[in-house]
């Protein structure tokens, strides 16, 4: 079908989905591919295309970049809802383009699933790729981490535009060598923070130098395998840093770049790294610094990641954790909070979650600061209960209910602060049921 008609037709479909109250998601993109497999080549894009990829933190980093650029009076088109695969990206472009396929914006910023980077940007001309980190994530779906990195490495061999890399993740910074001719490589890094450790505390990837197979030496670990590393044999790791975050202070939610202090609403090392990535992009594209400072101060997410609510008069903090690293970050937040609290942890094993739940054994439950009770739920509630019990947390303080609503009712039997941790498909379900319970309690 001719491009014009494909775009017109899909725009029509999207419109109808909207009328019927459906968000659409990937559906318009799927249709577009059916009608024209080369649809990505059909868009006319004059502005820089910036892609954000990596295992954890894509949505937050992507949305943060978009907010900074928008607050600096730039027109930005982006897939803010996290539809980050090929079809989701096409859906976004179709929705936002003119009938002739022209994208009218100053920047196109696209959160992109790791395995789709080579596919999407074969046809869409990329100006800047941001790579955050590589962690174990749903291994049984996308193959092992290494093969994913190799695919992106292969793509980068012929890429010579801006490449922004996390210098502190050995799985990421190795990508700089994919094309030795590329002079546009920009590393970001976060200086040692208060809770960094000398030993690896949580499951991590990349213990060996990717170039000479020597065991990597770490000066310190920030979280998981992210930290200051070096290969004694070939000096891999000694990068020149373009954007360095210093004096990270999680209690006051602040850090420094080039002598300026920035404050945010986030207090985890993991979000600090996302800010490091986002600010690198803005530094590279010369965003106004005063405007950026202001944006960072107000930036929040509202899609279940670190969301705060009051339910039945109890402070409730909701956090998504779809892999060990995410869960360990959530538990760090629990432990850095000295108040007494109870945890609800919901674990599903639907296809989108990855059917393998063994990753919960890579979560560190050994230290739980003032946690009075843990309730587990979801299709794999019992697996989680066994895991927590085996860490020597008292078994009489663990309750398991496969039904999420039932678990929520039990959670609010007692008045304490609540932390709710959910994996991928459990997030929306748990959120809905929390809202339903909140209404029933008569909270406003």
């Amino acid at each position: 079908m001719k491009n014009f008609f494909v775009i017109l037709f899909i725009k029509g479909v999207s419109f109808f989905l909207k009328i019927f109250g459906k968000n659409g998601g990937n559906l318009p993109g799927k249709l577009a591919f059916k009608l024209n497999p080369n649809i990505l080549k059909c868009f006319k894009i004059d502005c820089p295309v910036i892609a954000v990829t990596g295992t954890n933190g894509k949505t937050m980093t992507n949305n943060c970049i978009v907010r900074i650029l928008e607050d600096d009076n730039k027109r930005v088109i982006s897939n803010l809802e996290g539809n980050n695969m090929e079809t989701g990206i096409v859906s976004t472009l179709i929705k936002k383009c003119s009938l002739t396929g022209k994208i009218k914006a100053d920047y196109l910023v696209l959160e992109t699933d790791e395995s789709y980077v080579p596919i999407v940007y074969k046809d869409l001309k990329l100006d800047c790729l941001v790579v955050l980190n590589f962690f174990r994530d749903q291994l049984d779906r996308s193959g092992e981490v290494e093969s994913l990195i190799l695919k992106i490495n292969e793509f980068l061999k012929t890429y010579d535009k801006n490449l922004i890399l996390n210098s502190d993740d050995p799985n990421v910074s190795r990508l700089a060598m994919a094309n030795p001719e590329n002079k546009n490589i920009y590393y970001y890094s976060v200086d040692r923070y208060k809770f960094a450790t000398d030993e690896l505390r949580e499951a991590g990837e990349g213990k060996f130098c990717p170039f000479c197979n020597t065991r990597l030496k770490y000066k310190y670990y920030q979280y998981a395998h992210v930290g200051k590393f070096i290969c004694d044999k070939c000096n891999y790791g000694g990068n020149e840093i373009y954007n360095l975050l210093e004096n990270v202070d999680l209690e006051n939610r602040s850090f420094e770049i080039d002598g300026t202090t920035y404050t945010t609403k986030f207090n985890s090392i993991y979000s600090t790294y996302n800010f490091a990535a986002a600010t690198t992009v803005c530094k590279l594209y010369n965003t106004d610094l005063i405007s950026m400072k202001n944006t960072l101060e107000n930036f929040v997410l509202n899609n279940g990641r670190l969301e705060k609510m009051v339910i039945n008069n109890n402070d409730t903090i909701i956090n998504i954790a779809k892999n060990p690293t995410g869960a360990n970050v959530s538990l760090r937040l629990v432990n850095e909070d000295n108040e007494h609290k109870e945890i609800l942890f919901v674990l599903n094993d639907n296809i989108a979650d990855g059917k393998d739940v063994s990753w919960i054994w890579d979560i560190n439950f050994d230290v739980l600061n003032n946690v009075d009770r843990i309730i587990t739920s979801g299709t794999r509630a019992f697996d989680l209960a066994i895991r927590i019990k085996t860490s020597n947390y008292p078994v009489e303080k663990i309750e398991a209910y496969t039904d999420i609503y039932e678990a929520i009712e039990h959670l609010y039997e007692k008045n304490t602060k609540k932390y709710v941790i959910t994996n991928y498909t459990a997030t929306q379900d748990t959120r809905h049921k929390l809202m339903r319970f909140k209404e029933k309690c008569g909270d406003k």
């Binding site: 174990r136 291994l139 049984d140 193959g143 092992e144 981490v145 290494e146 690896l200 499951a203 213990k207 060996f208 197979n213 065991r215 059917k355 393998d356 739940v357 063994s358 990753w359 919960i360 054994w361 890579d362 019992f382 697996d383 209960a385 066994i386 895991r387 019990k389 085996t390 860490s391 020597n392 078994v395 663990i398 398991a400 496969t402």
Partner: protein
């Protein structure tokens, strides 16, 4: 106080799919009964361990590229490990470790990673890289004459052939090869299997079987194991049996 000495091989390399959980479960079930668990680790660059001095030696699965690095290291100890097997030290080997103890592993491009050749079986990668045996798996094994269902999760592209004595019969899932009827390899003092999960987390009877075996060999007496609260384990097993066996 009775104790078991456990050697955990390459914990920092063979660490995929939460296999470390097996060590946690064994330790937990020993300590709950007042026994002691001494867990030593060995990895590349460490001093050579005295394999025969341990009661139980454990190794798990890892990423393909890292498995190659350690195959070169492990082969240095071929004779020592063989002696430990012959002496009756219990070996629990999961996935990648299972394969490494066989004759060889043949990769997709025909490259051969030599194994320890301690057991006769060999493994070949499935030619289609994207096709792996992945999913929940339930087998039935025989523990000292008692039929026990074992539940886990398999994720391997290797197809293992020439198994003399299997760990169990497949009730749900693949096993040693696609749609196989048998899973793993088992002798008197060896369990080698593709089951992650981690394996011991949902199979308390199997864990206690291994603990009992090791204690018996070490102290030369039948040690009665105190019953533990396995409420969550039983609920979990029942839920998953119902889901995978009854709605098949």
């Amino acid at each position: 106080m009775k104790e078991l000495r456990i050697l955990y091989l390459y914990p920092d390399i063979l660490d995929l799919y939460g296999d470390i959980g097996n060590i946690k479960v064994i330790t937990y079930r020993l300590e709950k009964r007042g026994f002691k668990a001494v867990v030593d680790t060995y990895s590349i660059n460490d001093d050579k361990p005295d394999f025969e001095s341990y009661d139980l030696i454990f190794a798990g699965g890892g990423a393909d590229n890292e498995q190659q690095i350690l195959s070169q290291d492990l082969i240095k100890y071929k004779e020592d490990i063989k002696k430990a097997v012959d002496k009756g030290v219990f070996f629990l080997l999961i996935c990648g470790a299972y394969q490494l103890f066989g004759k060889y592993y043949k990769g997709v491009d025909g490259e051969i990673i030599p194994g320890l050749e301690i057991f006769d079986y060999y493994t070949e990668a499935n030619p289609d890289r994207s096709k792996r045996c992945i999913g929940n798996i339930i087998i039935e094994t025989n523990l000292d004459g008692e039929k026990v269902k074992v539940i886990g999760f398999e994720n391997h592209c290797g197809q293992t052939y020439d198994i003399k004595s299997t760990f169990g019969q497949v009730l749900f899932g693949n096993g040693n090869k696609f749609n196989d009827s048998s899973e793993g390899y088992m002798t008197d003092n060896v369990i080698a299997t593709y089951l992650h999960g981690p394996l011991l987390s949902k199979n308390p009877e199997l864990t206690d079987f291994i603990i009992k075996k090791c204690l018996k060999r070490k102290y030369n007496e039948d040690v009665e194991l105190e019953k533990l609260d396995d409420n969550f384990e039983n609920l979990c097993r029942n839920q998953l049996f119902e889901r995978f066996l009854e709605n098949k």
